[in-house]
């Protein structure tokens, strides 16, 4: 693996995308491309009061660290940051951030995309819905499409 040591943070607080980009790019001129992915809490029906994100402390950091380390082995990255929030999150708020920095754009795009697919299907987080009428909307179900999305990164050569 060349260069980048991934920065992994599991936190309640929101994040600042510009500050995270700046932290990776400051005082260097070898980065040509930075891709960020922000995942937000969506509520198209207006029925959601908030999402409650439960996580497995310890394993969440470890598992995201394993995924991030794999990304730095597969793509030439100059920097990689992953922040995943937990606790209560209102519609429109941030949930997750991936920042991938590379000399070239395709590596940055692919690494960020890979990270998100693997976070969705492997990071130990669970979302519970709280509705505006005071009831529980229940636990969000995992989507088979997310597993298929992660599968497309499997190397055919083993």
């Amino acid at each position: 693996m060349a260069g980048a040591v991934p920065g992994i943070r599991i936190q309640r607080e929101d994040f600042d995308v510009a500050a995270e980009i700046a932290a990776l790019t400051r005082d260097r001129a070898d980065i040509g491309a930075v891709v960020t992915f922000s995942g937000l809490c969506r509520d198209e029906q207006g029925a959601l009061s908030e999402l409650e994100l439960e996580h497995y402390p310890g394993m969440a950091e470890a598992e995201i660290g394993r995924i991030a380390a794999e990304a730095t082995e597969r793509w030439p990255l100059q920097g990689l940051t992953v922040i995943h929030r937990h606790g209560k999150i209102a519609p429109g708020e941030n949930i997750v951030l991936v920042v991938a920095a590379s000399a070239h754009r395709q590596a940055a795009f692919e690494a960020a995309n890979f990270l998100m697919d693997y976070l969705k299907s492997r990071a130990p987080f669970w979302k519970k819905e709280h509705l505006t009428d005071g009831s529980h909307g229940g636990w969000v179900e995992a989507k088979e499409a997310d597993d298929r999305a992660a599968d497309r990164w499997k190397k055919s050569g083993g």
Partner: protein, 83 residues
């Protein structure tokens, strides 16, 4: 051995974690799930469809055929919905 539960597995079993003494003959994750399921109706409810349950040993994902010898901490949880 410490068992940890998350999300609706935790809610249905009614506790976040517990220490258990395993009887002889429980060698794999699948054995553990079968034994736990027989421990009462809350376990039966949580583990009704064992194939759905995801398992981590010492904070790493494992399949249901994994041996549990040497495990300090086994976590049971539904499919993840992070990201």
């Amino acid at each position: 051995m410490r068992l940890i539960y998350f999300a609706w597995v935790r809610e249905r079993i009614g506790k976040p974690e517990e220490d258990v003494e395993l009887p002889a003959g429980i060698e794999t994750v699948a054995d553990l799930l079968r034994w736990l399921k027989s421990r009462g109706e809350e376990y039966e409810h949580a583990l009704q469809f064992p194939d759905v349950i995801r398992v981590a040993i010492n904070q790493e994902h494992v399949g249901h055929r994994e041996k549990i010898a040497g495990a300090r901490e086994i976590a049971l949880f539904p499919p993840m919905t992070g990201g």
